[in-house]
Symmetry: C2
Subunit: 176 residues, 2 copies
């Protein structure tokens, strides 16, 4: 299709990332954890950026919200399917936000309260305590919301009103 494939592109088979910090949250075990920031509204936490990356935080205090990218490090082994929290059906993993993805990267939008050296004080944290941080990006509505088209959310249409009141169990996590 479309003129090239992974062989022609000399596609790198692996990409190696390195944690740049740790997320400190109130959620020590998967059970009872919120399943998205909306269910964790107000949950206070800290983003500890390792000192060797702290200079990269310059000017971040001007942003009210951040996108955090992190490693679902205690997720079960990857699967192509997930029985989601929000209904009892099995969906393709890419049609869900479940953590046991082929590349177990999570994203959350959190609210930035303050910056003290290499520590960001934030709220709306919905991750397990101790989660490895991969990236911090400023949240910018003009970049991070759709720029065209009406929004449809498929199987989640019925489920979404439940999100704020639905909490995790251990289904996606290794024994902790």
């Amino acid at each position: 299709m479309i003129g090239f494939n992974r062989e022609k592109r000399n596609f790198p088979p692996f990409i190696t990332l390195r944690p740049i910090g740790i997320l400190h949250t109130p959620f020590r075990i998967p059970k009872g954890m919120p399943i998205q920031p909306r269910g964790a509204r107000g949950a206070l936490g800290k983003v500890e950026v390792f000192p060797e990356y702290a200079e990269g935080l310059k000017d971040i205090e001007g942003f009210s919200h951040l996108l955090l990218l992190y490693h679902f490090d205690r997720s079960r082994l990857p699967s192509l399917f997930a029985k989601a929290f929000l209904d009892n059906e099995i969906h393709g993993i890419f049609a869900t936000r479940a953590p046991q993805r082929p590349n177990p990267i999570g994203i959350s939008v959190v609210r930035l309260d303050s910056v003290i050296d290499n520590i960001l004080e934030v709220r709306d944290m919905d991750m397990l305590d101790g989660t490895p941080l991969l990236d911090v990006k400023p949240y910018v509505p003009a970049f991070d919301s759709p720029c065209s088209g009406d929004i449809r959310i498929g199987w989640l249409t019925k489920a979404i009103p439940e999100t704020e009141f639905t909490y995790s169990d251990e289904r996606f996590y290794c024994d902790t």
Copy 2:
């Protein structure tokens, strides 16, 4: 701080990811590329998910928009600072969306037109052609927009009206 550090947590020093597909876009070289989907409104492209991951796309056709996570594979070596496209100031890398990040992962919200086997036909694509795909997630406003607080966008406040009319140059990319 807060009770543990990376030693106590037995923090993994590396995380290894594997591309799950390729992004096909109209942008063969960094020069002239849009800098965000908003500048690429309507730009047609295809997400080729490698066949071994195609089952994970079940039910994705119900979603109008997707979050694509991808590897900035032709970005320059990581830096803690960036002189952004949208002003002439130097900012901490985590206060920008520049690609030469310690972990060079990009995120874009794109619009899904159709699904044909392992190919997603999409628009609003703002990546370089041939970019390695890491993850596909359904875009869900209740998950992906801030759940509390007014939004401030720091140094981008002045620059954002320019986004649609600003195009990339080579500053962040290796020679291509």
